[in-house]
């Protein structure tokens, strides 16, 4: 550490390392148990207001990804407003973890708010750890969150926030491949996506390093939960080759959805629930976990500096009512981290329990993996990843 550039008390590398400390990955059996259901605390939201009434703001500003909230009336936000009087301003302004971080880091680094009370960040990126270690997020008020007990055990201790002091899972989902049957037959492997000449120039992957390289690592027969320089480089090389050949035309955030639905992309890396929601209007779209395996991830709700902790905590408590979480999970086709959701989901839609995208069965879970936090936090990897994107 004689290099002058590392003289300052806390470098980003250290921060990243700190974020990755104890960076164990949630085990799949645990997740499996998580999805099974189990009994939940009930009575719930009333409890939050039963004691000393917290002073709530009139509005809650919430940043989230697209295709990530229930829309059937009465929506859960309407129900929340009815119960608490708090109106939710819901902004679908997260397109990728990198972009969102770029947008908010300026004010947060000066200790200023970002006009939001809740935002989300994916555990499959370096960012939740960065937000926590930089102290850019505020501690939850668990006194207002009796439903905290409904959090599934598998999600109770992620590496970036071992005691869940700052974060609560929003939903989980899977990385896979989507294709448009008008333009191609089934695309079931990354090799096919990257090399099939029929897909040339009609393929996209994500800007998210964890998601994209996770699937490529699996296709290479490497373990995404234990990444070496060698396995990283060979995965990177495969993406680079596909970019240079013109097979891959874009790196996308959540914005792959519209061109995929329109038929501009024949096949692309896509998130499980997104496509399930698109299929309703576009029956030509399909989605699957690649043959050599997929990646599972979780988005986490966080309270940024300047956000109102009581209001945000009250909302999180509300979202951990199995009834509410079931409605959100069923309509978005993503995976809830709330105990007892399955029983409630069946009441909404008897078929929901059989939908592996909402309640992944053993079969699917056996194909899913999680990314190595050390890879996500590796500064050199991040730089190399950016270079592949032409940047």
């Amino acid at each position: 550490m004689t290099d002058p550039r590392f003289n300052d008390p806390l470098t980003r590398r250290q921060l990243l390392r700190r974020a990755a400390v104890g960076g164990t990955v949630l085990s799949l059996p645990a997740l499996l148990a998580a999805c099974g259901g189990g009994s939940a605390a009930s009575g719930t939201t009333a409890a939050a207001t039963a004691g000393g009434k917290p002073q709530l703001k009139d509005v809650l500003n919430f940043s989230n990804w697209t295709y990530y909230i229930d829309t059937k009336k009465p929506t859960t936000f309407q129900q929340f407003q009815e119960q608490t009087g708090v109106k939710v301003n819901y902004y679908e302004d997260v397109n990728s973890n990198d972009q969102y971080f770029a947008k908010v880091q300026g004010p947060l680094s000066q200790g200023k708010g970002i006009g939001r009370d809740i935002f989300v960040a994916t555990d499959n990126s370096r960012f939740p750890g960065l937000y926590v270690s930089q102290e850019w997020v505020q501690e939850l008020d668990k006194d207002l969150m009796p439903n905290f007990a409904n959090l599934v055990d598998a999600q109770s201790s992620p590496p970036f926030d071992p005691d869940r002091k700052f974060s609560m899972p929003w939903l989980s989902g899977m990385d896979g491949i989507a294709w448009n049957e008008d333009l191609t037959g089934p695309v079931t492997t990354v090799s096919q996506l990257f090399e099939d000449p029929k897909l040339h120039g009609k393929v996209t992957v994500w800007t998210e390093m964890g998601d994209t390289l996770g699937l490529v690592l699996l296709d290479n027969g490497d373990d995404p939960s234990k990444v070496t320089d060698e396995s990283f480089n060979s995965a990177l090389e495969r993406v680079k080759t596909a970019v240079d050949s013109g097979q891959i035309i874009k790196f996308t955030g959540n914005d792959y959805v519209a061109p995929l639905a329109k038929g501009d992309y024949a096949a692309c890396f896509a998130w499980s629930g997104d496509v399930a929601q698109l299929v309703v209007d576009n029956p030509k779209l399909h989605w699957g976990v690649p043959e050599k395996g997929g990646i599972i991830w979780t988005d986490n709700m966080l309270i940024p500096l300047g956000g109102d902790v009581p209001t945000a905590s009250t909302y999180m408590n509300f979202a951990y009512d199995p009834k509410i979480s079931a409605k959100i999970a069923v309509e978005t086709t993503y995976i809830s981290a709330v105990k007892g959701v399955k029983d409630e989901a069946v009441k909404i839609d008897p078929d929901a329990a059989k939908n592996p995208l909402i309640f992944p069965d053993d079969n699917i879970l056996a194909q899913l993996h999680q990314n190595d936090p050390a890879m996500l936090n590796n500064e050199d990897y991040v730089t190399k990843w950016q270079e592949v994107q032409g940047q």
């Binding site: 002058p4 550039r5 590392f6 003289n7 300052d8 008390p9 806390l10 470098t11 980003r12 590398r13 990198d98 972009q99 770029a102 947008k103 880091q105 680094s109 930089q134 040339h200 120039g201 009609k202 800007t207 970019v243 240079d244 013109g246 891959i248 035309i249 874009k250 790196f251 329109k262 038929g263 501009d264 500064e379 991040v382 730089t383 950016q386 270079e387 592949v388 994107q389 032409g390 940047q391």
Partner: protein, 285 residues
């Protein structure tokens, strides 16, 4: 007040200059100084330190010369395309449009009523694989079954050409419109052919418009990133895309700042060469 100005008549030019100079000072020079300071820093976000890190410049050049060259190349083609498309149009409006002049000028400016981003997004639909242009060109066998326009160099250059077209057309119009038609009549009286009259009279007199239009198109086009981001692929990435990503995504401020200076320097050099070739009096009209 009036008496004050009368007594200090010498001050008037400075007072007139003051608002502009102040504006540039606050919103251009000070940020530029910060940018320069940033470009010589080292370290990793958020702990940068000023260390006279000149290697930021050489590193940035060696890593991103490809995108730099590409930016100048694309901006160059787009500028020439703009000139070739805009000159006949401006000529026609200036000399032939008669009472319709203002209407046509309005049509040229009309795209500015829509934001830049939305205009470029519209091209996504126009050039889309399932869109009308590709469909027509495939029907006419100009494009093959599997060819496309979107996500190609053509799309990016076409987007830049479209977006900067008014910056070329308007100065051209202004310089052409000022030409005294009697000069052309005189040329014809002296037995000049139409071609010769154009080449010897119209073209030289419109040179200030050409120069102004070229600069107004080329300079912003070289730093553009929207067109490459929306209509291109990573293979069409321009230097603006790199700077944008370095500033906002990888949070590598020093490299981004160094690249900004390199771009600025290269444009300045190009400008000096251009001024040398065409002569400075044309730059100022």
């Amino acid at each position: 007040m009036g008496a004050f100005f009368h007594r200090h008549r010498g001050l008037t030019p400075y007072l007139l200059l003051a608002p502009g100079i102040l504006w540039l000072g606050i919103f251009f020079l000070i940020p530029l100084a910060f940018l320069g300071y940033e470009s010589l820093q080292s370290g990793l976000f958020p702990n940068f330190e000023f260390t006279w890190e000149f290697s930021n410049f050489s590193d940035a050049l060696s890593l991103y010369h490809e995108q730099l060259v590409r930016s100048f190349f694309y901006a160059g083609i787009a500028t020439v395309a703009c000139l070739l498309l805009a000159y006949p149009l401006a000529y026609w409006i200036a000399f032939r449009a008669g009472p319709w002049r203002n209407l046509f000028l309005l049509v040229i400016v009309a795209p500015f009523f829509v934001t830049y981003l939305v205009r470029t997004l519209a091209w996504l639909n126009i050039l889309a694989n399932e869109g009308p242009v590709v469909g027509f060109l495939q029907w006419a066998h100009v494009l093959g079954e599997n060819d496309r326009l979107l996500a190609t160099t053509f799309a990016v250059v076409a987007g830049i050409t479209y977006n900067f077209f008014p910056f070329m057309a308007l100065p051209l119009y202004v310089s052409l419109e000022q030409i005294d038609p009697r000069l052309l009549e005189a040329a014809k009286d002296l037995y000049a052919s139409s071609t010769k009259a154009f080449l010897r009279v119209t073209l030289p007199l419109s040179a200030p418009g050409i120069v102004a239009g070229t600069l107004l198109t080329f300079i912003p086009a070289a730093g553009d990133f929207i067109n490459a981001a929306l209509l291109g692929t990573p293979k069409q990435a321009m230097i603006g895309n790199v700077i944008q990503a370095k500033f906002l995504e990888s949070l590598d401020y020093p490299t981004a700042a160094a690249l900004s200076f390199i771009l600025m320097g290269m444009i300045l050099v190009a400008l000096l060469v251009y001024a040398r070739v065409v002569g400075t009096e044309k730059l100022t009209g």
